[in-house]
């Protein structure tokens, strides 16, 4: 698929591992084997290692994949990568953006800003070629001896038993056997582990074809996401233009459902289309790919001791940046639960809430991306007619603008989950239980400008109480972290944004899960209420 101009950035060697010389009763037993060294598998391995676990990470290739593939990484993903120690590097290389514009024909319909307010450490999105993200994650893994990353190790056999899984792994030196307590399948949309457990992967297939071309050129377009319906350079269809690092631009063109892929992706056929769009042909191709897509998910993300994450578990259309970002949300959701299950500080039943929370998120992502796709490629004359009406109404009405769907970009889901404690106090705002923690600027006692999410990086490997001081000490259980705002020794909320974003009063406290989601909140927590909320959030009641 990929054109030759963009070779893989990093090549890794296969190395024989002592596990390969062990057989029979002597085969190695690992707590966790993660399969697939893409963004999801790499991030999950780092998260588990930081929580103190040994991780074996297997990949059937020996290099980072070619082509840009995923390019938009969300604020939520960046906050997760901050916790994994790679956020700064991603943001330094990435193209920061928050504004999108929608055009119809040759006129602008409207623009949106995904993060219109100040006071957040991370932007709404960065654009970054997936291979850079993977390379930085692999570098981080190099600093973590607890992770054993094995290239050209392909799982070819999987046998689930009561207490563990027997794996057969194919290598250039032949197959070997190993055992694992848990196997996490992050092996992508064509997951071979999914086939091995015999799971269905059903959903809706879309007939429309899209052409992705990443082109290299110097251009003065702003770093905004531009989306066209029926542009003059590509009549009757849609188009997308988006900047990546290294002067590379992502161009996405809708094609006819009858277009011949072999013909359409020839550079000599792609070039005139892009030249029409850009008004010149001073560009080079980095990557060309023609694709159709499907929206589908597994019925169950957990099959015995095999747990599925990312594209292996669910697939969406690319409009909305919901693929890689939702996979990273899977990783952050799973890592802390697996940590507690492995330590036996929570029952294995806690893992079931991974399925509950993330399959609901997958449904939401599928719903959103299916709606965007149907809007771009109407299925009937009447759907096309309704879309035409929306586009024409958008020129003069606000409601019409808001109905135009050029992709609804990824935001973290709010979980309806048994781990949440229902509010019993009155709230006018702030994140409700099941929502992710909003960021806010704060000043440390050492007078440094910092952010709430920075404090959470330090405290948040466990349950953490975010409390707004009122002079009295909250009686909190020993094992949880504390982030205090206001009061003696607390962070200073100079701009009042933390108070505003958390609808806080003196004495207010939020119990945060280790993935930064709100488990419970109180106006004046008592020890017994905190204990109960903690037990619930840890799956202990």
């Amino acid at each position: 698929m990929a054109q030759a101009s963009n070779q893989a950035k990093t090549q890794f060697g296969y190395r024989r591992h002592p596990d390969q010389d062990r057989a029979g009763h002597d085969v190695a037993e690992h707590p966790v084997v993660v399969v697939g060294a893409g963004p999801v598998g790499l991030s999950l391995a780092i998260d588990l290692a930081q929580r103190g676990h040994r991780v074996v990470l297997l990949d059937d290739a020996d290099r980072i994949g070619e082509g840009s593939r995923a390019i938009c990484f969300s604020k939520r993903s960046l906050e997760y990568w901050d916790r994994l120690g790679v956020g700064d590097r991603m943001v330094a290389k990435g193209v920061v953006w928050s504004v999108g514009k929608i055009f119809h024909g040759d006129s602008q319909l409207y623009q949106f800003n995904l993060l219109p307010e100040e006071g957040h450490k991370r932007p709404a999105f960065i654009n970054l070629q997936q291979f850079y993200a993977e390379a930085y994650l692999v570098d981080r893994i190099g600093e973590l001896p607890a992770i054993d990353l094995r290239w050209r190790n392909k799982v070819v056999g999987l046998d689930q038993r009561n207490d563990d899984i027997a794996l057969t792994i194919e290598t250039p030196d032949g197959p070997y056997a190993t055992r694992a307590q848990f196997v996490i399948a992050c092996d992508g949309a064509r997951s071979s582990l999914r086939k091995m457990v015999g799971a269905e992967f059903s959903g809706q297939a879309f007939e429309d074809q899209f052409l992705i071309a990443d082109v290299k050129m110097t251009a003065a377009f702003p770093t905004e996401r531009w989306f066209w319906f029926d542009p003059p350079f590509h009549a009757g269809r849609s188009a997308l233009l988006h900047k990546q690092p290294d002067d590379v631009w992502r161009i996405d063109l809708q094609l006819s459902r009858y277009a011949d892929p072999a013909v359409e992706k020839q550079p000599e056929n792609v070039r005139p289309r892009i030249a029409r769009m850009l008004g010149h042909d001073k560009f080079e191709f980095e990557w060309i790919s023609l694709y159709k897509f499907q929206c589908r998910r597994m019925d169950r993300f957990i099959h015995g001791r095999v747990i599925f994450a990312g594209d292996a578990a669910h697939q969406v259309s690319p409009f909305g940046a919901r693929g890689a970002n939702s996979g990273l949300e899977d990783a952050e959701n799973l890592a802390w639960k697996l940590d507690r299950a492995l330590r036996k500080s929570s029952p294995e039943a806690l893992l079931e809430t991974y399925h509950v929370e993330r399959s609901a998120a997958a449904d939401e992502n599928i719903r959103e991306s299916t709606r965007a796709t149907d809007f771009m490629a109407p299925n009937s004359h009447q759907e096309a007619r309704l879309r035409k009406a929306v586009l024409s109404l958008a020129k003069e009405t606000e409601f019409g603008k808001r109905m135009v769907n050029g992709g609804r970009l990824s935001v973290p889901s709010i979980y309806d989950t048994p781990l949440s404690t229902t509010d019993s106090d009155g709230w006018r705002g702030g994140p409700r239980p099941g929502a992710s923690m909003p960021d806010a600027p704060v000043t440390s006692t050492a007078n440094e400008d910092t952010f709430l999410t920075d404090s959470f990086v330090r405290e948040g490997r466990r349950f953490t109480l975010l409390e707004f001081g009122n002079g009295a000490d909250i009686d909190a259980p020993q094992e949880i972290g504390v982030i205090r705002i206001g009061g003696e020794g607390g962070l200073v909320d100079a701009e009042g944004l933390a108070i505003k974003r958390y609808d806080a009063e003196p004495g207010t406290a939020y119990l945060l899960r280790p993935d930064g989601y709100v488990a419970a909140r109180f106006r004046h927590p008592t020890r017994s209420a905190l204990d109960a909320a903690l037990a619930r959030a840890a799956g202990l009641d």
């Binding site: 009447q382 007619r385 309704l386 035409k388 009406a389 929306v390 024409s392 109404l393 009405t397 409601f399 019409g400 109905m403």
Partner: protein
């Protein structure tokens, strides 16, 4: 709020007439485009998804009634 099906116009004939006249001189294709825009404008004005769903269900029942009638007529003509 539930969908109101009681008569809301003081002069219902005026309302019906206004809609009919809006379609005068339009081709079937143009009329369909016009209706699509009108539906979206009115739906937004209502601004209540439950009411919209009730209205959609009521309109949808016409389709079912019409096809049942057709079947009955076909059966009657065969007998």
């Amino acid at each position: 709020m539930a969908l109101s099906t009681s008569s809301n116009f003081a002069k219902p004939d005026d309302a019906f007439r206004a809609i009919v006249e809006a379609h005068r001189g339009l081709s079937d294709e143009q009329s369909a485009d016009f209706d699509a825009a009108l539906v979206l404008i009115l739906a937004n004005h209502i601004g209540d998804l439950d009411v919209l769903r009730e209205a959609l269900a009521l309109a949808r029942r016409r389709m079912i009634d019409a096809s049942q009638q057709q079947q009955q007529q076909q059966q009657a003509s065969r007998e």
